[in-house]
């Protein structure tokens, strides 16, 4: 992150902190990228504020299982945001405990979250509240467990028999 980028991001973060006290738990600098750690209950509001500040491209949503490293909460949802008009990048992290996998969906803010959240659900089992069609996307519908969790064996495969019924999907989304 260049000095210029840091200066541009500063007022945005301060503005959000002012509007939503307690929503941003922490700020990290990771190899020069600004990382915001958002409170899970308020993450939707944080995202809405960031969208209003010009972050129009939700580049990616990544799930992370922290089982094998030091952690307080097991899971992590990471949103990579980019602002095309302002040329800024920011990353938002939301910690998710294992016993309560609910995360507010951001599909109402960015359409690109639709499949991205489906993938995160498929691979880790997050429950995105408010998602129009939260079903598996990369693995087949009969798949049991969540493949990218660290306790899922790397070489374990699962057979698919039959095709999935897309009739309900057609009416949703």
């Amino acid at each position: 992150m260049s000095k210029n980028e840091r200066e541009q991001l500063r007022p945005i973060v301060d503005d959000i902190k002012g509007r939503l006290p307690g929503a941003i738990l922490n700020e990290e600098d990771s190899f020069g990228d600004l990382v915001l750690v958002a409170d899970r209950k308020q993450s939707h509001d944080v995202m809405k504020q960031l969208r209003a500040q010009g972050f129009d491209l939700l580049a990616d949503i990544a799930g992370v299982d922290l089982l094998k490293v030091e952690h307080t909460e097991r899971f992590l949802v990471v949103y990579n945001l980019y602002s095309i008009p302002r040329d800024l990048r920011v990353r938002v992290k939301v910690y998710v405990p294992e016993d309560d996998m609910n995360v507010p969906s951001v599909t109402d803010i960015w359409q690109s979250a639709n499949w991205a959240e489906r993938e995160a659900y498929d691979m880790f089992g997050f429950h995105f509240e408010g998602h129009p069609n939260l079903v598996r996307i990369l693995t087949h519908r009969q798949f049991e467990g969540h493949a990218l969790r660290k306790d899922y064996p790397v070489m374990k495969g699962q057979w698919a028999s039959g095709v999935s019924d897309l009739m309900p999907d057609m009416e949703r989304e």
């Binding site: 580049a59 990579n80 639709n114 009739m167 009416e171």
Partner: protein
């Protein structure tokens, strides 16, 4: 005159032209809307030849119009993100080849760039320019497949051969450099597998001279072709705001009129020193998506030409024993180099703990790698952001309301590569 009067001995009714026109004008078209038709359900794919890989579009049809659609992907899911968690950082490179298999080198470069940023190393000037050259050659090749295949899907076969003749020459060119024709694995973290062979610059120049003819031939055939325009204009239209909202990047986003190119916005490898334009479309339809790609080929040719002039001498690999393997001669002759070699092969590269998101402009758009390192030999987590995952998300929205035959036209224009889509 009654119909029986007109019927000749065979029982056929013959009408004059005026009669026919008169009768046609009498048909009450509004009454057709009252016709009660059953919706028809049709599967396109997963083994449809025009799906460029394997995925399924399930359509509810009203006549030939698509009323609703559902898209299913995942038929080519190979667990890229899972398998790399038990590999060393260097061992991930061949897996990245198989993401967008039409432009493997761009994926290699994208991944290595991310890991190098994590390691905090700067690669040598010669390697930077070589990477630009191979990336741009791959961009031309990728666009050739995309445009060529898209045109085949809508019935224009000749263009495919024109492009594939030229692409074959570039394939031979890259084969001479990397030894492979599809999955190159030529880039290394901190450098390249080997330097350019002798006289290779001349060979690139000679090959690049043959590309303009192919592009001109194809644009000459399609640009003002009535059938092509009818099949692609105003098909699959998406506006600029919506395209960004859906996560479009690369040529598809530019076709919608958004001037966004990571090579210009966040220049890496001296892209800011090259003279090239970023073509943008106006309508965001399939026609624009094809034409933006065609124009990008011209721009890539410009970049290759300039890069060849800029190509400096010097080493290709950085001088860091923790990242690069020592020269083979030293391994055979010195104990330190031998130990170094073994340590690197067995333990691999160890980036410092932390996480990084690094993106590069590949032919399809923004290819991002989100890498988490725990300081060990294996990446803790690699999340790949494939550009076409997000464009494919839009397919449902783009084809609803269009004809069945438009599915392949839209699909080809989005350039969906199943290897990258499903990982």
């Amino acid at each position: 005159m009654t119909e029986t009067d007109m019927a000749d001995k065979t029982g056929k009714i013959e009408l004059t032209e005026e009669e026919l026109i008169h009768r046609a004008s009498q048909v009450d078209e509004t009454s057709l809307e009252d016709l009660d038709t059953e919706p028809m359900y049709v599967n396109v794919g997963p083994t449809h030849p025009a799906t460029h890989g394997a995925f399924r579009v399930f359509c509810k049809l009203d006549g030939e119009r698509i009323e609703r659609a559902a898209v299913e992907i995942g038929y080519l899911h190979r667990g890229f993100e899972k398998i790399v968690e038990i590999k060393h950082y260097t061992q991930v490179i061949p897996y990245t080849d198989r993401l967008n298999y039409c432009s493997g080198l761009s994926n290699n470069v994208g991944y290595c760039k991310a890991v190098e940023r994590m390691l905090g190393v700067a690669i040598t000037p010669r390697t930077e320019i070589i990477r630009v050259i191979i990336c741009e050659i791959q961009r031309i090749m990728d666009h050739m497949i995309c445009v060529g295949a898209n045109l085949v899907d809508i019935g224009a076969l000749t263009n495919f051969w024109y492009f594939f003749n030229a692409r074959e020459k570039m394939n031979n060119l890259l084969e001479a450099l990397t030894g492979a024709r599809l999955t190159y694995s030529y880039v290394r973290i901190g450098g390249l597998a080997w330097d350019l062979p002798e006289g290779y610059e001349e060979r690139i120049k000679a090959t690049m001279k043959e590309i303009p003819k192919a592009i001109k031939d194809v644009t000459g055939l399609v640009k003002r072709n009535r059938i092509f325009i009818d099949r692609t204009k105003d098909i699959g239209v998406i506006g600029p705001e919506e395209a960004v909202n859906y996560g479009f990047t690369g040529p598809c986003l530019r076709a919608s009129g958004v001037q966004h190119d990571l090579r210009k916005k966040r220049p890496y490898y001296h892209y800011d020193e090259f003279g090239f334009d970023v073509p943008v479309g106006e309508n965001g339809d399939t026609y624009d998506r094809i034409m933006v790609r065609v124009e990008e080929m011209w721009q890539s040719l410009r970049i290759v030409e300039q890069a060849l002039k800029m190509l400096p001498g010097g080493p290709i690999n950085i001088d860091d024993k923790n990242i690069m393997l020592p020269p083979k001669d030293d391994v055979h002759n010195s104990m330190e180099a031998l130990i170094n070699h073994f340590k690197l092969v067995i333990e691999g590269i160890k980036p410092p703990p932390g996480e990084i998101y690094d993106a590069s402009e590949t032919p399809n758009g923004e290819l991002g790698f989100y890498i988490i390192s725990d300081g060990g030999s294996h990446p803790y987590r690699i999340k790949c952001r494939p550009p076409c995952f997000y464009t494919m998300n839009t397919l449902k929205r783009l084809i609803e309301g269009h004809m069945v035959a438009d599915i392949v036209a839209v699909l080809g224009g989005l350039n969906v590569i199943a290897g990258e889509l499903d990982r």
